[in-house]
């Protein structure tokens, strides 16, 4: 029998925020379009937001802020390494997005004057707009599916297929049965999140990470192998969050009057931006751990904070604090650095895209945490999900049909067969992951230097070989092998980009002991990585101004 092939028009890999809104908009534009979503988990709650969200971090509300002001803020917050087009377009469309979400029934609280409640999160302008919607993800999914999007649950994307340079579909892996799904599509959107399992969290629990642990750089790896570029991989970031639980809290508290204190009780952040660098500095200088104090706030504010923390984003926060016997009225909240992670939503790492969500591969789009639109947050995931849908619909209408490249399928089937066995294999995937993430922490994060990057090369090769000896007796274990291989490839990109950028920039995110100064003359540019015949290559790419095309 011939190869079983699932045929669709628009394949979306990753049914999170960006993927679901893209499906919804593609079907709004063309109701008879065949839209298929590969989702590694189950689509109802899958993705980084899992359930709800307490704010849209970037909304330019007319009369109060605008896209130009946002561009200035994001430039300052990204060390100048930002393309103007995508960030401008995102801010420009953000208010229409808010209005659209209100149409779904999402609540954006208003103050006594009927104005949206905004909070200051960026260096300038109050772009963060309060939102109260614990069921946001389920609402989105319902809208995408009721319009006819077909979810394929428990399937992760493992390989993009290309037909003479343009995208032709993808291969997915069922994470329970270990079976392959081959999908032919005229356009593909990768929306599969960042790399959350990059180093180990302080709890030493493999999945005790800040960002959704199902995000393992699958999209980065697929895009690279298909010929697209990734960028910002040297932006190895971490944040300061609740000690051990690594759950979100900082922005919610700081923007509502919480003070961050060092160990001497000195205020290092109050009523100002989300200044990670000030906290990192206190930590590295031995003035840590830092604390958030809320006890000075009126009961009403504390209740507001508790309401958000305990109902919306990670409601389990309530259990964590109860377990540690912490009452915000009496005790401060201890903060520690989280694990390092790569993410286009909070940082700069991701697949290179322009303001049309296009990548370097025709027909391939990227949106959300997997795409590099500087610190775009949920706003970016939604706006670029919509943009990708609009572009894909147009592309599908205009471009001829594609063929499935059988040799690429065969290659992937052979790799799959080799990986899917436990016979004679003696490495446990969890051990490999733990060891690899330890080495990433040892060699690839600040303070960085060339010597460390050289040492990483040994481990990269070793882990690569070790992956061949990992036992995968069932589909779940097999999916972990693919995940770890993807994290490893992202780590290699991070090593290459980190070594290539011979300067220090972005505070703790890229601090080199051998090049301690920021060097705008040589390094005010992107470092873009592409794969050439299986080898990663780094290159400098210029930063584009408003009105200029982004170099992909």
């Amino acid at each position: 029998m011939k190869l079983p092939i699932m045929e669709t028009d628009f394949l979306i890999i990753g049914g999170g925020s960006a993927g679901c809104i893209a499906a919804m908009h593609a079907l709004q534009a063309k109701p008879d379009l065949r839209v298929t979503i590969f989702e590694k988990s189950d689509i109802v709650y899958g993705g980084s937001i899992a359930r709800g969200m307490d704010a849209l971090n970037i909304v330019a509300i007319p009369g109060r802020t605008d896209a130009q002001m946002y561009l200035e803020a994001i430039r300052a917050m990204s060390g100048g390494i930002v393309d103007a087009g995508p960030s401008y377009v995102m801010a420009d469309r953000s208010y229409a997005l808010l209005k659209e979400m209100e149409g779904w029934g999402v609540t954006f609280p208003k103050d006594e004057n009927g104005q949206y409640k905004t909070l200051r999160y960026h260096v300038k302008g109050e772009f963060q707009t309060a939102m109260d919607e614990p069921e946001l993800k389920a609402m989105l999914v319902q809208r995408a599916l009721s319009r006819g999007a077909k979810p394929v649950n428990r399937v992760m994307g493992i390989r993009l297929l290309t037909d003479s340079g343009r995208v032709a579909g993808a291969i997915g892996l069922n994470v329970r049965t270990g079976q392959l799904v081959i999908c032919k599509a005229k356009a593909v959107l990768v929306a599969s999140g960042g790399v959350s399992r990059f180093t180990m969290p302080n709890s030493e629990y493999l999945y005790g990470v800040y960002d959704y642990p199902g995000n393992t750089g699958d999209g980065f790896a697929m895009a690279l192998k298909a010929g697209a570029g990734v960028t910002g991989m040297e932006y190895t970031q971490r944040t300061m969050l609740i000690k051990d639980s690594n759950m979100p809290l900082l922005a919610i508290c700081v923007t509502r009057g919480g003070k961050v204190l060092d160990c001497n009780g000195k205020v290092i952040m109050e009523g100002e931006v989300n200044n990670i660098n000030a906290m990192n500095e206190a930590f590295t200088q031995g003035r840590g751990p830092v604390h958030i104090q809320l006890s000075h706030l009126p009961e009403e504010k504390i209740r507001e904070i508790e309401h958000i923390l305990f109902t919306t984003e990670r409601p389990v926060n309530e259990r964590f604090f109860a377990g540690r016997r912490i009452d915000f009225r009496k005790q401060d909240i201890e903060l520690w650095p989280t694990e390092y992670y790569l993410c286009g939503g909070h940082g700069l790492a991701g697949i290179r895209v322009n303001e049309r969500a296009e990548t370097a591969v025709p027909g391939l789009y990227a949106a959300g945490d997997v795409a590099s639109v500087a610190k775009q947050h949920l706003t970016g995931a939604f706006v670029f999900g919509e943009i990708a849908a609009e572009q894909a619909v147009k592309y599908i209408r205009e471009e001829p049909d594609v063929q499935i490249p059988e040799e690429q399928v065969q290659e992937e089937q052979e790799l799959h067969q080799a990986r899917f066995s436990s016979k004679g294999k003696d490495i446990d995937i969890h051990d490999l992951e733990r060891k690899m993430r330890r080495m990433v922490a040892d060699y690839l994060v600040s303070p960085k230097n060339s010597h460390k990057f050289d040492l990483w090369k040994y481990w990269s090769e070793t882990f690569s070989k070790d992956l061949e000896h990992v036992s995968a007796g069932n589909g779940h274990e097999l999916s972990k092998v693919y995940e770890v291989a993807n994290i490893l490839l992202c780590a290699d990109c991070s090593a290459l980009a980190g070594d290539f950028r011979k300067e220090s920039r972005w505070g703790e995110c890229h601090k080199r002991s051998d090049y301690p100064e920021r060097d705008d003359a040589n390094w005010k540019c992107h470092v873009v990585i592409k794969m050439n015949n299986g080898t990663l290559e780094a290159q400098k790419t210029r930063i584009s101004e408003l009105g200029e095309e982004v170099v992909l």
Binding site: I5, G208, Y212
Partner: protein
């Protein structure tokens, strides 16, 4: 030692598997209760009994309907294999499931025979089913639920005649405990009305012989032959014959005589294969339902369940159970099935807890993080 991140209240768990289905880290597995494991149609008796015991017959009936379109039949036949597997069979006597089902079907008729349209599924693909016996009707039902347009061709003047008039000694197998009684006309009619209500086109007086298969295969996207013992088709384990032709039930070549419930199970399996074929998956995609749905075998009673005092089955005061008697009998269910943490990948994100219909599941922060 129990280091699991989830705590399950075994007295409330319906073993419905919603938590497993929605876990975004693929962390959970559902340990199947032995009754469901043994039931040829995979009926979730634990859930039905728990809801009955809790005085929620409407929900119990809805659950029964979601497991099978043939709740009315099971109330007549019982589910011998499931009853025999019941852990109670060595502790005070097996649950009288047939009697509970019979009570439920009478009491909640509209839910048991609900046409239950799937709100999301719609497809322009078409499937022809030959035969309106147990395998054919089960497959037609399952495929319709997936959104396909279904036409059933029945040679006889009436729908499901093999079910209406099961000749003694036929249509059953030793596993089903001997001879199954014929289905009373009233139950048959309600079941057929439900299937028609789902939009399945059933045509009587429409014999389709071997010679007409090729023509049907050209007209429809897929064809399922479920015409019973009269014809013979060589199908593989998945029910695939050739190209877009599939077979299920007694017409499959080289198999032992199969009973009515097995024929239904065979129809369900062929329906899954056809669905894979039409959607472009490999034919065996998720054919192992246990792995695909995260189900595991039962490993014996827990200490708490062992401690439950022996208690015999409730005897009905009249011919049928009263509400109180049904609830009382249902409350004897030991609740052998429950979710368990298997992969140690918990992100304590709570969807499992949110989707649990009875609040039986509680997520703890993992010990390393606590």
């Amino acid at each position: 030692m129990n280091s699991s991140n989830i705590a399950v209240n075994a007295n409330a768990c319906l073993a419905c598997g919603k938590c497993v289905d929605h876990c975004i880290m693929d962390n959970l597995r559902l340990v199947l209760p032995p009754c469901r494991q043994a039931s040829p149609l995979g009926i979730n008796y634990q859930g039905i009994l728990r809801l009955t015991a809790a005085g929620k017959p409407a929900e119990a009936a809805k659950l029964l309907r979601s497991c099978t379109p043939f709740g009315g039949f099971l109330a007549v036949w019982g589910d011998k294999a499931a009853s025999q597997a019941c852990s109670r069979s060595r502790k005070g006597g097996a649950l009288d499931m047939a009697r509970v089902l019979s009570w439920l079907v009478q009491r909640e008729e509209s839910a048991v025979y609900s046409a239950d349209p799937d709100p999301y599924a719609h497809s322009c693909k078409t499937v022809a089913v030959i035969g309106s016996g147990p395998a054919g009707l089960q497959a037609a039902h399952d495929l319709r639920r997936k959104g396909y347009a279904i036409t059933v061709y029945e040679a006889a003047p009436s729908i499901g005649s093999t079910l209406r008039f099961l000749p003694s000694g036929e249509g059953s197998s030793p596993a089903e405990g001997g001879i199954l009684p014929s289905i009373p006309a009233e139950i048959m009619d309600k079941t057929i009305a439900m299937l028609l209500g789902m939009g399945i086109d059933i045509r009587t007086f429409s014999p389709k012989g071997q010679s007409e298969l090729d023509e049907l295969c050209k007209t429809y996207d897929a064809v399922l032959c479920a015409s019973g013992k009269g014809s013979v088709l060589p199908a593989d384990d998945l029910g695939w014959v050739r190209d877009n032709l599939f077979a299920a039930g007694a017409c499959v070549k080289n198999q032992k005589q199969i009973g009515t419930l097995q024929a239904m199970a065979s129809g369900a399996k062929a329906a899954r294969t056809i669905c894979n074929f039409l959607e472009g998956f490999s034919l065996d995609y998720e054919s192992d339902q246990r792995t695909a749905r995260g189900l595991e075998r039962f490993h014996g009673l827990s200490d708490a369940q062992e401690d439950t005092a022996d208690m015999p089955a409730v005897k009905p005061s009249a011919q049928e159970y009263s509400d109180a008697e049904a609830a009382s009998e249902a409350s004897r269910c030991l609740g052998c099935g429950s979710p368990a943490e298997r992969n140690q990948t918990c992100w304590y994100c709570l969807p499992c807890e949110v989707v649990c219909p009875t609040h039986a599941l509680y997520v703890r922060v993992p010990y390393l993080v606590r």
